[in-house]
């Protein structure tokens, strides 16, 4: 009997998977950019970002804004990047023959 590989419960949630994938591709994004890319509501996005920050999967920094409030910029931490890679690898094992584009994944996880 074989044991199915287990998926990271923190990333195994649609909005959080999307946040991790978008940040892996883009590098960093503000709250407004994430909201637009994911078509999420403020409350929903805020709740999921908080969980990823608490787990150390995300890093945030404040950036001075011209004429407005300072913006918070989010990016994947080293731990979060590794967790995302492991999550995609595990998901690929569950779906033989189906995986995300290698080129996309490689460039998304390359150090910037």
């Amino acid at each position: 009997m074989t044991t199915l590989p287990s998926l990271d419960p923190l990333l195994h949630q649609p909005v959080r998977t999307q946040i991790a994938a978008y940040l892996a591709g883009r590098g960093e994004a503000t709250f407004a950019e994430l909201k637009r890319a994911l078509a999420a509501t403020d409350g929903n996005l805020d709740a999921h970002l908080s969980k990823l920050l608490e787990a150390g999967y995300l890093e945030s920094r404040k950036e001075a804004s011209t004429g407005g409030r300072p913006q918070t910029v989010f990016s994947l931490s080293g731990k979060g990047r590794q967790a995302f890679l492991d999550y995609v690898a595990t998901l690929s094992q569950l779906l033989p023959g189906k995986t995300v584009s290698d080129a996309l994944l490689r460039s998304a996880t390359a150090p910037r």
Binding site: Y22, R26, E28, A37
Partner: protein
């Protein structure tokens, strides 16, 4: 959400993260206006009348292009940062890098324009600018919408095809101006309406874009051809094929000098007709019963491809091979 849907969602978000470069409306308008304006006006401002010496003209072109393009790069960069900050957005890493590549392309075009005054090749300057613009659009497209990428390729092909088919200098100039002034804003307008998952729609939009860019140039070329034809009462001089025409060659060289009055006899191989004003050619001509052209179109070109020194009977001789061609026709 099934595992498969989740995997597809990851793929989509990774791609969205990569293709995060936004071509701002002000960037497309600014570059379109300035690029188109420079293509259309540079020859009117900097020419052999305003700067008779080629070196002066080369430096004037360098300063002119560097001022406009450098100033516009600064303004665009400033406005883009301002627009992003207003929308609470960051400047993505990819956009910062692609913008640097765009500046490099502009610098390359400026230096190539300058160098052509000393090393020749000026006939293809507007084709080169069209290709450089295409490269810039293509690189932006790689990190933006796929339609932009396709339009970049179409622009490169447009420039290369113009060169290969021997478009006249003037037509190539207006094609470059149209690609900047109409092409850039049109690319942004179409990209905002395109669905990246529908390649057929994308292909249709590229065709629409090509029509929008090429149609005004064709109309202009037709207008120019009509304008070049002399009025019925204009005096013309018909020169039949076989006529011997002396070529007075004004050689500017520190090594060799041509004696005043020396001329090389040349034989005309096709019937030609010249329009006259006050008894002298006014720059309009045609071969056989073909359409009329103006020398300002830059259709006539002399290409020297080989110079060899030989010694005959103890005396040196310079042998030169060149093509005196009509652009668009095989030599």
């Amino acid at each position: 959400m099934s595992h498969l849907e989740r995997m597809q969602s990851i793929q989509a978000m990774l791609a969205a993260g990569h293709r995060c470069v936004e071509l701002e409306r002000h960037s497309l308008l600014l570059w379109g206006l300035v690029g188109g304006g420079l293509c259309a006006c540079t020859d009117l401002v900097i020419n052999s009348d305003t700067f008779p010496e080629p070196t002066q003209r080369a430096i004037a072109i360098l300063v002119w292009l560097a001022t406009w393009l450098g100033g516009m790069s600064w303004l665009d960069h400033h406005l883009t940062h301002k627009a992003r900050a207003k929308r609470a957005e960051t400047m993505p890493f990819a956009q910062a890098q692609v913008t640097r590549a765009w500046w490099m392309l502009l610098a390359l075009g400026t230096l190539a324009t300058f160098a052509m005054f000393f090393h020749g090749g000026g006939i293809m300057i507007y084709a080169l600018w069209t290709v450089l613009l295409g490269l810039g659009i293509f690189v932006f497209g790689l990190f933006s919408r796929p339609l932009i990428e396709w339009i970049g390729l179409a622009t490169i092909l447009l420039g290369a095809t113009g060169l290969a088919t021997g478009l006249s200098f003037d037509t190539a100039r207006w094609l470059a101006a149209s690609t900047f002034a109409i092409g850039l804003p049109a690319a942004g307008w179409l990209a905002a309406r395109s669905d990246e998952h529908r390649p057929v729609q994308r292909a249709l939009y590229v065709v629409l874009w090509l029509v929008a860019v090429i149609a005004p140039v064709l109309a202009f070329a037709r207008h120019t051809a009509t304008a070049a034809a002399p009025a019925p009462d204009t005096a013309t001089l018909k020169v039949p094929a076989g006529s011997v025409i002396p070529l007075h060659f004004d050689l500017d060289s520190p090594l060799l000098a041509i004696s005043a009055g020396d001329a090389m006899p040349m034989r005309l191989v096709r019937d030609a007709e010249l329009a006259l004003a006050n008894g002298q050619p006014d720059g309009r001509y045609r071969f056989g019963d073909g359409s009329w052209h103006s020398t300002k179109e830059g259709v006539l070109a002399l290409r020297i491809d080989r110079i060899r020194v030989e010694v005959t009977a103890g005396k040196p001789e310079v042998r030169m091979h060149g093509n005196f061609v009509v652009q668009g026709e095989r030599p």
